[in-house]
Symmetry: C2
Subunit: 199 residues, 2 copies
Protein backbone atom coordinates (compact mmCIF):
# COMPACT_ATOMS: atom_id res chain seq x y z
CA UNK A 1 0.00 0.00 0.00
CA UNK A 2 1.28 3.41 -0.94
CA UNK A 3 -0.03 6.73 0.22
CA UNK A 4 1.52 8.62 -2.68
CA UNK A 5 -1.39 10.11 -4.63
CA UNK A 6 -1.77 10.57 -8.35
CA UNK A 7 -0.58 14.13 -8.97
CA UNK A 8 -2.16 16.20 -11.72
CA UNK A 9 -0.51 19.43 -12.81
CA UNK A 10 -2.20 22.25 -14.69
CA UNK A 11 0.11 25.12 -15.51
CA UNK A 12 0.38 28.54 -17.06
CA UNK A 13 2.65 28.67 -20.08
CA UNK A 14 6.26 29.34 -19.05
CA UNK A 15 5.63 28.83 -15.33
CA UNK A 16 7.88 25.77 -15.14
CA UNK A 17 4.98 23.44 -14.36
CA UNK A 18 6.23 20.69 -16.66
CA UNK A 19 9.77 20.81 -15.24
CA UNK A 20 8.38 20.84 -11.68
CA UNK A 21 6.23 17.79 -12.42
CA UNK A 22 9.13 15.97 -14.06
CA UNK A 23 11.49 16.59 -11.14
CA UNK A 24 8.83 15.67 -8.59
CA UNK A 25 8.13 12.37 -10.37
CA UNK A 26 11.84 11.57 -10.51
CA UNK A 27 12.35 12.30 -6.81
CA UNK A 28 9.30 10.25 -5.84
CA UNK A 29 10.30 7.44 -8.20
CA UNK A 30 6.95 7.41 -10.01
CA UNK A 31 6.09 7.70 -13.74
CA UNK A 32 5.68 11.07 -15.44
CA UNK A 33 3.20 11.61 -18.28
CA UNK A 34 3.07 14.64 -20.53
CA UNK A 35 3.86 14.17 -24.21
CA UNK A 36 3.76 10.44 -23.55
CA UNK A 37 -0.03 10.78 -23.50
CA UNK A 38 -0.02 11.80 -27.16
CA UNK A 39 1.86 8.65 -28.15
CA UNK A 40 -0.52 6.54 -26.07
CA UNK A 41 -3.56 8.25 -27.59
CA UNK A 42 -2.10 7.62 -31.06
CA UNK A 43 -1.69 3.92 -30.33
CA UNK A 44 -5.18 3.66 -28.84
CA UNK A 45 -6.96 5.56 -31.62
CA UNK A 46 -4.92 4.63 -34.67
CA UNK A 47 -4.39 8.32 -35.47
CA UNK A 48 -0.92 9.74 -36.01
CA UNK A 49 0.93 11.56 -33.21
CA UNK A 50 1.29 14.56 -35.48
CA UNK A 51 -2.44 14.73 -36.10
CA UNK A 52 -3.28 14.45 -32.40
CA UNK A 53 -0.76 17.15 -31.52
CA UNK A 54 -2.31 19.48 -34.09
CA UNK A 55 -5.86 18.75 -33.02
CA UNK A 56 -5.02 19.31 -29.35
CA UNK A 57 -3.87 22.79 -30.31
CA UNK A 58 -7.14 23.71 -31.99
CA UNK A 59 -9.62 25.90 -30.25
CA UNK A 60 -12.07 23.61 -28.56
CA UNK A 61 -15.13 25.52 -29.66
CA UNK A 62 -14.37 26.28 -33.27
CA UNK A 63 -17.70 26.69 -35.05
CA UNK A 64 -16.19 26.35 -38.51
CA UNK A 65 -14.39 23.21 -37.45
CA UNK A 66 -17.74 21.83 -36.29
CA UNK A 67 -19.28 22.60 -39.67
CA UNK A 68 -16.33 21.06 -41.48
CA UNK A 69 -16.64 17.85 -39.48
CA UNK A 70 -20.37 17.70 -40.08
CA UNK A 71 -22.86 16.98 -37.34
CA UNK A 72 -22.59 13.20 -37.79
CA UNK A 73 -20.03 12.66 -35.06
CA UNK A 74 -18.29 14.34 -32.14
CA UNK A 75 -15.68 16.90 -33.22
CA UNK A 76 -12.25 15.29 -33.48
CA UNK A 77 -10.81 17.09 -30.46
CA UNK A 78 -13.68 15.82 -28.33
CA UNK A 79 -12.95 12.30 -29.55
CA UNK A 80 -9.25 12.67 -28.77
CA UNK A 81 -10.16 14.03 -25.34
CA UNK A 82 -12.25 10.92 -24.69
CA UNK A 83 -9.41 8.61 -25.73
CA UNK A 84 -6.93 10.49 -23.53
CA UNK A 85 -9.38 10.49 -20.62
CA UNK A 86 -9.66 6.72 -20.84
CA UNK A 87 -5.85 6.44 -20.84
CA UNK A 88 -5.56 8.81 -17.86
CA UNK A 89 -8.08 6.79 -15.87
CA UNK A 90 -6.18 3.58 -16.63
CA UNK A 91 -2.87 5.13 -15.59
CA UNK A 92 -4.35 6.37 -12.30
CA UNK A 93 -5.75 2.90 -11.67
CA UNK A 94 -2.27 1.38 -12.09
CA UNK A 95 -0.67 3.52 -9.37
CA UNK A 96 0.85 6.86 -8.34
CA UNK A 97 2.15 9.03 -11.18
CA UNK A 98 2.42 12.66 -12.30
CA UNK A 99 0.15 13.74 -15.18
CA UNK A 100 0.59 17.14 -16.82
CA UNK A 101 -2.28 18.98 -18.51
CA UNK A 102 -5.25 17.49 -20.38
CA UNK A 103 -7.78 18.26 -17.60
CA UNK A 104 -6.53 15.24 -15.67
CA UNK A 105 -7.88 16.78 -12.45
CA UNK A 106 -11.34 16.85 -13.98
CA UNK A 107 -11.04 13.42 -15.59
CA UNK A 108 -10.10 11.89 -12.21
CA UNK A 109 -12.60 13.89 -10.15
CA UNK A 110 -14.24 10.77 -8.70
CA UNK A 111 -11.01 9.51 -7.08
CA UNK A 112 -9.95 10.63 -3.62
CA UNK A 113 -6.29 9.64 -4.00
CA UNK A 114 -5.49 12.52 -6.35
CA UNK A 115 -3.65 15.75 -5.55
CA UNK A 116 -4.51 18.49 -8.04
CA UNK A 117 -1.89 21.18 -8.54
CA UNK A 118 -1.83 24.47 -10.47
CA UNK A 119 1.48 26.18 -11.28
CA UNK A 120 1.52 29.83 -12.29
CA UNK A 121 4.05 32.68 -12.28
CA UNK A 122 4.23 36.41 -12.97
CA UNK A 123 4.20 37.32 -16.66
CA UNK A 124 7.72 38.75 -16.59
CA UNK A 125 9.15 35.48 -15.25
CA UNK A 126 7.27 33.44 -17.84
CA UNK A 127 8.24 35.57 -20.82
CA UNK A 128 11.89 35.33 -19.75
CA UNK A 129 11.64 31.58 -19.26
CA UNK A 130 9.95 31.08 -22.63
CA UNK A 131 12.94 32.78 -24.22
CA UNK A 132 15.75 31.27 -22.13
CA UNK A 133 14.54 27.77 -21.35
CA UNK A 134 12.07 26.92 -24.13
CA UNK A 135 14.08 28.94 -26.67
CA UNK A 136 10.92 30.43 -28.13
CA UNK A 137 11.22 33.38 -30.44
CA UNK A 138 8.48 35.96 -30.85
CA UNK A 139 8.43 39.64 -31.71
CA UNK A 140 6.24 40.23 -28.65
CA UNK A 141 6.91 37.51 -26.08
CA UNK A 142 4.23 38.72 -23.66
CA UNK A 143 1.57 38.44 -26.36
CA UNK A 144 2.88 35.00 -27.30
CA UNK A 145 2.67 33.78 -23.69
CA UNK A 146 -0.84 35.22 -23.30
CA UNK A 147 -1.93 33.39 -26.42
CA UNK A 148 -0.67 30.07 -25.09
CA UNK A 149 -2.52 30.67 -21.80
CA UNK A 150 -5.68 31.44 -23.69
CA UNK A 151 -5.49 28.11 -25.52
CA UNK A 152 -5.00 26.23 -22.26
CA UNK A 153 -7.80 28.10 -20.52
CA UNK A 154 -10.13 27.49 -23.43
CA UNK A 155 -9.30 23.76 -23.51
CA UNK A 156 -9.74 23.42 -19.74
CA UNK A 157 -12.91 25.48 -19.45
CA UNK A 158 -14.50 23.72 -22.41
CA UNK A 159 -13.93 20.18 -21.21
CA UNK A 160 -14.16 20.64 -17.44
CA UNK A 161 -16.67 23.47 -17.24
CA UNK A 162 -14.50 24.78 -14.41
CA UNK A 163 -12.51 28.00 -14.47
CA UNK A 164 -8.82 27.51 -15.26
CA UNK A 165 -6.63 29.23 -12.66
CA UNK A 166 -9.31 29.54 -9.99
CA UNK A 167 -7.50 28.45 -6.82
CA UNK A 168 -10.59 26.62 -5.61
CA UNK A 169 -10.30 23.88 -8.23
CA UNK A 170 -6.90 22.68 -7.03
CA UNK A 171 -5.65 21.27 -3.75
CA UNK A 172 -2.51 23.29 -4.17
CA UNK A 173 -1.58 26.26 -6.34
CA UNK A 174 2.03 27.41 -6.31
CA UNK A 175 3.81 30.30 -7.95
CA UNK A 176 6.78 28.97 -9.90
CA UNK A 177 8.55 32.32 -9.65
CA UNK A 178 11.10 31.08 -7.10
CA UNK A 179 12.24 28.27 -9.36
CA UNK A 180 11.63 24.58 -9.92
CA UNK A 181 13.40 23.37 -6.75
CA UNK A 182 11.32 25.49 -4.38
CA UNK A 183 8.02 24.28 -5.82
CA UNK A 184 9.25 20.67 -5.75
CA UNK A 185 10.16 21.03 -2.05
CA UNK A 186 6.64 22.20 -1.20
CA UNK A 187 5.03 19.51 -3.34
CA UNK A 188 7.15 16.75 -1.83
CA UNK A 189 5.95 17.77 1.63
CA UNK A 190 2.35 17.86 0.39
CA UNK A 191 2.74 14.37 -1.10
CA UNK A 192 4.60 12.80 1.85
CA UNK A 193 1.95 13.90 4.32
CA UNK A 194 -1.05 13.52 1.96
CA UNK A 195 -4.01 12.39 4.04
CA UNK A 196 -6.34 11.57 1.12
CA UNK A 197 -7.38 8.07 0.15
CA UNK A 198 -4.59 5.48 -0.02
CA UNK A 199 -4.64 2.25 -2.04
CA UNK B 1 18.92 38.11 9.92
CA UNK B 2 15.86 35.95 9.50
CA UNK B 3 14.59 34.42 6.32
CA UNK B 4 11.10 33.92 7.68
CA UNK B 5 8.82 36.08 5.53
CA UNK B 6 5.76 38.05 6.53
CA UNK B 7 2.87 35.67 5.79
CA UNK B 8 -0.47 37.06 4.66
CA UNK B 9 -3.52 34.81 4.64
CA UNK B 10 -6.71 35.41 2.66
CA UNK B 11 -9.35 32.78 3.22
CA UNK B 12 -12.78 31.60 2.28
CA UNK B 13 -15.26 31.61 5.13
CA UNK B 14 -15.15 28.33 7.06
CA UNK B 15 -12.00 27.05 5.33
CA UNK B 16 -9.95 27.08 8.54
CA UNK B 17 -7.65 29.86 7.29
CA UNK B 18 -7.60 31.70 10.60
CA UNK B 19 -6.84 28.53 12.59
CA UNK B 20 -4.13 27.58 10.08
CA UNK B 21 -2.52 31.02 10.39
CA UNK B 22 -2.70 30.92 14.17
CA UNK B 23 -1.07 27.49 14.41
CA UNK B 24 1.58 28.40 11.86
CA UNK B 25 2.49 31.57 13.81
CA UNK B 26 2.71 29.60 17.04
CA UNK B 27 4.96 26.92 15.53
CA UNK B 28 7.21 29.53 13.93
CA UNK B 29 7.26 31.62 17.12
CA UNK B 30 6.12 34.80 15.38
CA UNK B 31 3.19 37.18 16.11
CA UNK B 32 -0.29 36.55 14.71
CA UNK B 33 -2.63 39.39 13.76
CA UNK B 34 -6.31 39.05 12.99
CA UNK B 35 -8.79 40.71 15.34
CA UNK B 36 -5.81 42.43 16.97
CA UNK B 37 -5.77 44.72 13.92
CA UNK B 38 -9.18 46.09 14.91
CA UNK B 39 -7.93 47.03 18.37
CA UNK B 40 -4.85 48.67 16.85
CA UNK B 41 -6.94 50.58 14.32
CA UNK B 42 -9.18 51.75 17.17
CA UNK B 43 -6.20 53.06 19.10
CA UNK B 44 -4.71 54.73 16.04
CA UNK B 45 -7.96 56.36 14.88
CA UNK B 46 -9.71 57.11 18.15
CA UNK B 47 -12.81 55.20 16.91
CA UNK B 48 -14.35 52.42 18.98
CA UNK B 49 -13.58 48.77 18.26
CA UNK B 50 -17.29 48.12 17.91
CA UNK B 51 -17.67 50.84 15.29
CA UNK B 52 -14.68 49.60 13.29
CA UNK B 53 -15.95 46.05 13.38
CA UNK B 54 -19.33 47.18 12.07
CA UNK B 55 -17.86 49.39 9.36
CA UNK B 56 -15.54 46.60 8.18
CA UNK B 57 -18.64 44.49 7.61
CA UNK B 58 -20.31 47.07 5.39
CA UNK B 59 -20.35 46.65 1.68
CA UNK B 60 -17.41 48.62 0.35
CA UNK B 61 -19.38 50.28 -2.40
CA UNK B 62 -22.61 51.26 -0.67
CA UNK B 63 -24.03 54.20 -2.59
CA UNK B 64 -26.47 55.17 0.16
CA UNK B 65 -23.68 55.12 2.68
CA UNK B 66 -21.69 57.46 0.43
CA UNK B 67 -24.66 59.86 0.28
CA UNK B 68 -25.09 59.68 4.03
CA UNK B 69 -21.44 60.52 4.61
CA UNK B 70 -21.60 63.39 2.14
CA UNK B 71 -18.95 63.96 -0.48
CA UNK B 72 -16.72 65.98 1.86
CA UNK B 73 -14.51 63.13 2.90
CA UNK B 74 -13.54 59.54 2.09
CA UNK B 75 -16.20 57.00 3.11
CA UNK B 76 -15.51 55.70 6.61
CA UNK B 77 -14.55 52.18 5.49
CA UNK B 78 -11.96 53.69 3.14
CA UNK B 79 -10.55 55.67 6.03
CA UNK B 80 -10.42 52.61 8.26
CA UNK B 81 -8.74 50.69 5.45
CA UNK B 82 -6.06 53.39 5.26
CA UNK B 83 -5.45 53.27 9.01
CA UNK B 84 -5.22 49.47 8.96
CA UNK B 85 -2.92 49.57 5.94
CA UNK B 86 -0.55 51.86 7.81
CA UNK B 87 -0.56 49.50 10.79
CA UNK B 88 0.05 46.48 8.53
CA UNK B 89 3.02 48.19 6.90
CA UNK B 90 4.50 49.03 10.31
CA UNK B 91 4.04 45.45 11.53
CA UNK B 92 5.76 44.06 8.43
CA UNK B 93 8.61 46.50 8.95
CA UNK B 94 9.12 45.22 12.50
CA UNK B 95 9.63 41.59 11.48
CA UNK B 96 8.07 38.27 10.43
CA UNK B 97 4.45 37.73 11.41
CA UNK B 98 1.19 36.21 10.16
CA UNK B 99 -1.54 38.65 9.09
CA UNK B 100 -5.05 37.41 8.30
CA UNK B 101 -7.38 39.24 5.90
CA UNK B 102 -7.61 42.97 5.24
CA UNK B 103 -5.93 42.79 1.81
CA UNK B 104 -2.54 42.55 3.54
CA UNK B 105 -1.08 40.94 0.41
CA UNK B 106 -2.07 43.99 -1.59
CA UNK B 107 -0.99 46.47 1.10
CA UNK B 108 2.49 44.88 1.21
CA UNK B 109 2.84 44.38 -2.56
CA UNK B 110 6.09 46.39 -2.73
CA UNK B 111 7.95 44.08 -0.32
CA UNK B 112 9.73 40.95 -1.52
CA UNK B 113 9.88 39.26 1.89
CA UNK B 114 6.18 38.42 1.91
CA UNK B 115 4.52 35.05 1.26
CA UNK B 116 0.89 35.46 0.20
CA UNK B 117 -1.41 32.55 0.96
CA UNK B 118 -5.03 31.76 0.07
CA UNK B 119 -6.96 29.08 1.96
CA UNK B 120 -10.14 27.64 0.49
CA UNK B 121 -12.18 24.45 0.86
CA UNK B 122 -15.17 22.70 -0.69
CA UNK B 123 -18.53 24.19 0.33
CA UNK B 124 -19.63 21.04 2.16
CA UNK B 125 -16.55 21.14 4.41
CA UNK B 126 -17.01 24.83 5.15
CA UNK B 127 -20.71 24.63 5.98
CA UNK B 128 -19.97 21.77 8.39
CA UNK B 129 -17.10 23.67 9.98
CA UNK B 130 -19.18 26.83 10.37
CA UNK B 131 -21.67 24.77 12.34
CA UNK B 132 -19.28 22.61 14.38
CA UNK B 133 -16.30 24.88 15.01
CA UNK B 134 -17.68 28.42 14.75
CA UNK B 135 -21.03 27.36 16.23
CA UNK B 136 -22.92 29.41 13.67
CA UNK B 137 -26.63 28.85 13.29
CA UNK B 138 -28.48 29.53 10.07
CA UNK B 139 -31.56 28.05 8.45
CA UNK B 140 -29.53 27.59 5.26
CA UNK B 141 -25.85 27.24 6.13
CA UNK B 142 -24.68 27.09 2.49
CA UNK B 143 -26.38 30.43 1.78
CA UNK B 144 -24.86 31.89 4.94
CA UNK B 145 -21.34 30.78 3.94
CA UNK B 146 -21.81 32.13 0.42
CA UNK B 147 -22.87 35.49 1.86
CA UNK B 148 -19.73 35.71 4.00
CA UNK B 149 -17.58 34.88 0.96
CA UNK B 150 -19.32 37.57 -1.02
CA UNK B 151 -18.47 40.17 1.61
CA UNK B 152 -14.82 39.15 1.63
CA UNK B 153 -14.63 39.11 -2.16
CA UNK B 154 -16.27 42.52 -2.37
CA UNK B 155 -13.88 43.99 0.23
CA UNK B 156 -10.82 42.48 -1.46
CA UNK B 157 -11.80 43.33 -5.03
CA UNK B 158 -12.75 46.88 -4.07
CA UNK B 159 -9.53 47.75 -2.28
CA UNK B 160 -7.01 45.69 -4.23
CA UNK B 161 -8.62 45.72 -7.66
CA UNK B 162 -7.49 42.12 -7.92
CA UNK B 163 -9.74 39.11 -8.09
CA UNK B 164 -10.23 37.33 -4.77
CA UNK B 165 -9.54 33.60 -5.11
CA UNK B 166 -7.61 33.79 -8.37
CA UNK B 167 -4.63 31.51 -7.72
CA UNK B 168 -2.34 33.88 -9.57
CA UNK B 169 -2.48 36.55 -6.85
CA UNK B 170 -0.99 34.27 -4.20
CA UNK B 171 2.33 32.47 -3.86
CA UNK B 172 0.49 29.53 -2.42
CA UNK B 173 -3.16 28.48 -2.38
CA UNK B 174 -4.11 25.45 -0.31
CA UNK B 175 -7.35 23.58 0.18
CA UNK B 176 -8.08 23.36 3.90
CA UNK B 177 -10.24 20.26 3.35
CA UNK B 178 -7.66 17.89 4.86
CA UNK B 179 -7.54 19.83 8.11
CA UNK B 180 -5.47 22.50 9.83
CA UNK B 181 -2.41 20.32 10.49
CA UNK B 182 -1.93 19.30 6.86
CA UNK B 183 -2.01 22.88 5.61
CA UNK B 184 0.36 23.97 8.39
CA UNK B 185 2.84 21.23 7.37
CA UNK B 186 2.89 22.48 3.78
CA UNK B 187 3.18 26.11 4.86
CA UNK B 188 6.02 25.39 7.28
CA UNK B 189 7.98 23.81 4.43
CA UNK B 190 7.22 26.82 2.21
CA UNK B 191 8.39 29.20 4.93
CA UNK B 192 11.52 27.26 5.93
CA UNK B 193 12.80 27.14 2.36
CA UNK B 194 11.44 30.56 1.29
CA UNK B 195 13.93 32.04 -1.19
CA UNK B 196 12.42 35.56 -1.29
CA UNK B 197 14.06 38.66 0.18
CA UNK B 198 15.52 38.24 3.68
CA UNK B 199 16.15 41.04 6.17
Amino acid sequence: MSNIPVITISREYGSGGRAIGEKLAKELGIPFYNKELILMAAKESGLSEEYIKKTEQMKATSFLYGLYMGAQQLPMNDQIFLVQSKIIRELAEKGPCVIVGRCADYVLRERDDVLNVFIHAPMEYRAQRAKDVYEREASNMVDYVKKQDKKRASFYNYFSQNKWGDARHYHLAISGQYGVDYAVEILKRAVETFPGGGR
